[in-house]
């Protein structure tokens, strides 16, 4: 939120030219439709003279906090920026506050960002900020959540993340192939669409192979002790052969209940404890969405977009998951987890 530093000539030039370019794009689009190779990218066409050389700034503004998951995303982004010459990374997380995220994006644009990476769980709240980015004509990549923007914003090149539905299908199919017929899907948060999608996907994967999935809502992380006993009670009520949790902490809470009952446990996302248990064989597998890639790839894709006009993904998402951590690869991934890259 600090004012743009004096003497940064590149951003000033960009800003002054932005309305002109937008007007040109608007004129060009209907009249000279043929002049655009790809209509989605019309705002940037006709700018060959503007190929970027010298220092560049990439802003990555996420809705993340400083927790385990997002610190790996940030490590990925920082590592990518460190390998690229003259690239400065401006990483900020709004900890779930969409309005703050909107302000952060606007501030980053004022400071002269040449490219923008955003996670967008709440697209409506950051629409105006993204419109400013769009007007500035800079390339945008969404990460982790917000793949819908790929359809609606011309400057969005691609989305880097995991489709929760696809990840759920992957987990469900894998469980069914391992012989599961009746699985509990443990929802540990209310009103989280991503978690619902995972369970729905798992149900798709299981029913295709003749199994079924029952969703169970539990208290969650505020009271893991109660959550563990609730999972135990639900197992007694539903007698499943498999339990699928959507969070590593919940997986650890479920573990004690599961091992006394000869039920298979699998989970989404990884933590050091979960990796230990996967290596020991008490957790069947963990679905990893590879947060490091969600930080690393947008930075490197955006650098290519600004410097070399490359566009990755052909207008669809770049999937970072599901990747499966099993007993075979758990030990090697645990070593990397200690470094904060897995």
């Amino acid at each position: 939120m600090s004012p743009r530093p004096a003497g940064s000539s590149v951003p000033q030039r960009r800003r002054r030219r932005a309305p002109l370019r937008l007007a040109a794009a608007l004129l060009c689009a209907p009249v000279l439709a043929a002049c655009t190779v790809d209509p989605v990218n019309r705002a940037r066409v006709g700018d060959e003279s503007d190929v970027h050389t010298g220092p560049m700034r990439i802003a990555m503004i996420t809705h993340g906090d400083d927790g385990g998951f997002w610190s790996i995303v940030r490590n990925g982004a920082q590592d990518a920026a460190a390998t690229l010459p003259e690239v400065t990374l401006d990483y900020q997380g709004s900890a779930g506050d969409a309005k703050l995220q909107s302000e952060m994006i606007k501030a980053a644009l004022n400071q002269g960002a040449d490219a923008l990476a955003v996670s967008a769980p709440d697209i409506g709240a950051i629409t105006s900020a993204l419109a400013e980015a769009e007007a500035a004509g800079i390339p945008i990549i969404t990460l982790n959540s917000g793949s819908d923007l790929l359809e609606t914003l011309p400057n969005v090149i691609t989305h880097v993340g995991q489709s929760e539905r696809a990840a759920g299908v992957g987990a469900g199919t894998r469980l069914a192939e391992g012989g599961a017929t009746r699985a509990l899907c443990i929802l540990h948060e209310e009103n989280n669409i991503g978690l619902q999608e995972r369970c729905a996907g798992a149900a798709d994967g299981m029913t295709e192979n003749g199994g079924e999935v029952i969703n169970v809502q539990v208290t969650g992380k505020a009271d893991p002790r109660s959550t563990a006993l609730e999972i135990g009670a639900a197992m007694q009520a539903q007698s499943p052969d498999t339990v699928l949790t959507l969070d590593p902490d919940i997986a650890m809470a479920a573990l004690k209940e599961v091992t006394t009952r000869d039920v298979t446990l699998a989970t989404f996302d990884i933590s050091p404890d979960v990796l230990d248990e996967v290596a020991a064989g008490s957790i069947e597998f963990a679905v990893d969405q590879q947060p490091y890639l969600q930080g690393y790839l947008p930075v490197s894709f955006l650098e290519l977009a600004v410097r070399n006009r490359n566009e990755v993904g052909a207008n669809s998402i770049v999937a970072t998951g599901p990747s499966f951590v099993t007993q075979e690869n758990a030990a090697s991934i645990a070593a990397l987890s200690d470094q904060g890259t897995r």
């Binding site: 906090d65 893991p224 639900a234 007694q236």
Partner: protein, 350 residues
């Protein structure tokens, strides 16, 4: 406080005779007892698995109730003395996290770490109590501030030290096996009666003894009933209230320790929002929001209702997305029943 005078040989006609059943029914906890029985019968009837009222089921929901119950006993004492503590839920997380950090990051043994946690809990209790009595601000405001400060500290400190939002590895502490026996043992896997239930019973006995049999207990009722009247007859109002805040913090340390030992890891969000469950348990059990009346037995019955509902919904196989709606209806019903029973039985109660 019903007193049982030695039965005179010649009944004094000036004293109205109150039958035993009526004296029992006006006790604040009886409404909660009836509500608990109704909830028990309800979920026994709804049960699809035949487990809810089996030994396995009973011990399961007793274990869930225990952490509510230990806190509800302390919170009831504080509420009787006329104050509330909104930081009590978050404190169960703070104390667990501190224990975990001292063990896994500072490499301390379990028992020295626990001693520091106890000192920390006493300090937070003193802070809450002294701020309330010195500033004369409502405890709602003061402890709301403490709650938010602790909430930030919980996740900020944990992330700064571990780089994650959780602390693990508590089972690697020296002295853990003894600690597990004291705080986290379980009778049997199919009979999940945890030692936390024992701690809860201890809290009930201790709380009841203090309230019914000690001078401190009379003071607690007095300061909550009428602070000025209490001060005029020489009750140390400030000391009584501050000691109740410390009691709640110590109870939170106990629950935080039980959680940490049972699960061997603590996440930063633990306990957030739970202060309301403790208050609800106390109120369902007949503790007045305004202070001066209540009992730890009643609060414990309230906690039992919360625990039975949490697991009862799972045993019933209901769509658990609706659990909060069930919660609200059952709690409202329990309070209404409580009031109705007391009005029918006693006319004027409290």
């Amino acid at each position: 406080m019903a007193t049982t005078a030695p039965a005179p040989t010649q009944p004094d006609e000036r004293i109205r005779h109150t039958p035993l059943w009526r004296r029992m029914l006006v006790r604040p906890s009886v409404g909660a007892l009836i509500a608990a029985i109704v909830v028990f019968l309800f979920f026994s009837a709804m049960d699809t698995t035949g487990t809810f009222n089996s030994p396995t089921g009973v011990t399961s929901w007793m274990s869930v109730s225990a952490s509510y119950g230990i806190m509800a006993c302390a919170v009831a004492l504080l509420m009787i003395s006329g104050e509330v503590d909104l930081s009590s839920g978050v404190m169960t997380g703070s104390t667990g996290l501190l224990l975990g950090l001292l063990i896994s990051e500072a490499g301390m043994g379990f028992w020295p770490a626990l001693a520091i946690v106890v000192v920390f809990a006493i300090c937070i209790g003193l802070l809450n109590g002294l701020l309330v009595t010195w500033t004369r601000l409502p405890s709602f405001i003061v402890t709301l501030a403490t709650m938010f400060v602790l909430l930030g500290v919980n996740s900020g400190v944990t992330q700064a030290i571990t780089g994650q939002v959780r602390v693990g590895g508590i089972d690697r502490a020296t002295g853990y096996s003894a600690a597990q026996w004291v705080f986290g043992s379980r009778l049997d896997s199919s009979w999940p009666l945890t030692v936390s239930v024992g701690w809860w019973l201890l809290a009930i006995l201790l709380g009841t003894w203090v309230l019914q049999r000690t001078r401190q207990g009379n003071w607690i009722y007095a300061v909550g009933g009428d602070k000025n009247a209490a001060r005029n007859v020489g009750v140390p109002v400030r000391r009584t209230k501050v000691s109740m805040f410390v009691t709640v913090s110590l109870a939170a340390a106990l629950v935080g320790t039980i959680n940490a030992v049972e699960l061997t890891s603590v996440s930063a969000g633990q306990g957030t929002g739970y202060e309301f469950y403790y208050i609800i348990a106390a109120v369902v059990g007949g503790t007045l929001m305004t202070g001066g009346a209540g009992s730890v037995v009643g609060a414990s019955l309230g906690a039992l209702i919360l625990g039975m509902t949490t697991l009862g919904i799972q045993y019933a196989g209901w769509d658990s997305t609706w659990r909060f709606t069930f919660f609200g209806l059952i709690l409202f019903g329990a309070v209404m029943l409580n009031i109705w029973v007391r009005d029918r039985a006693g006319g004027s109660s409290t």
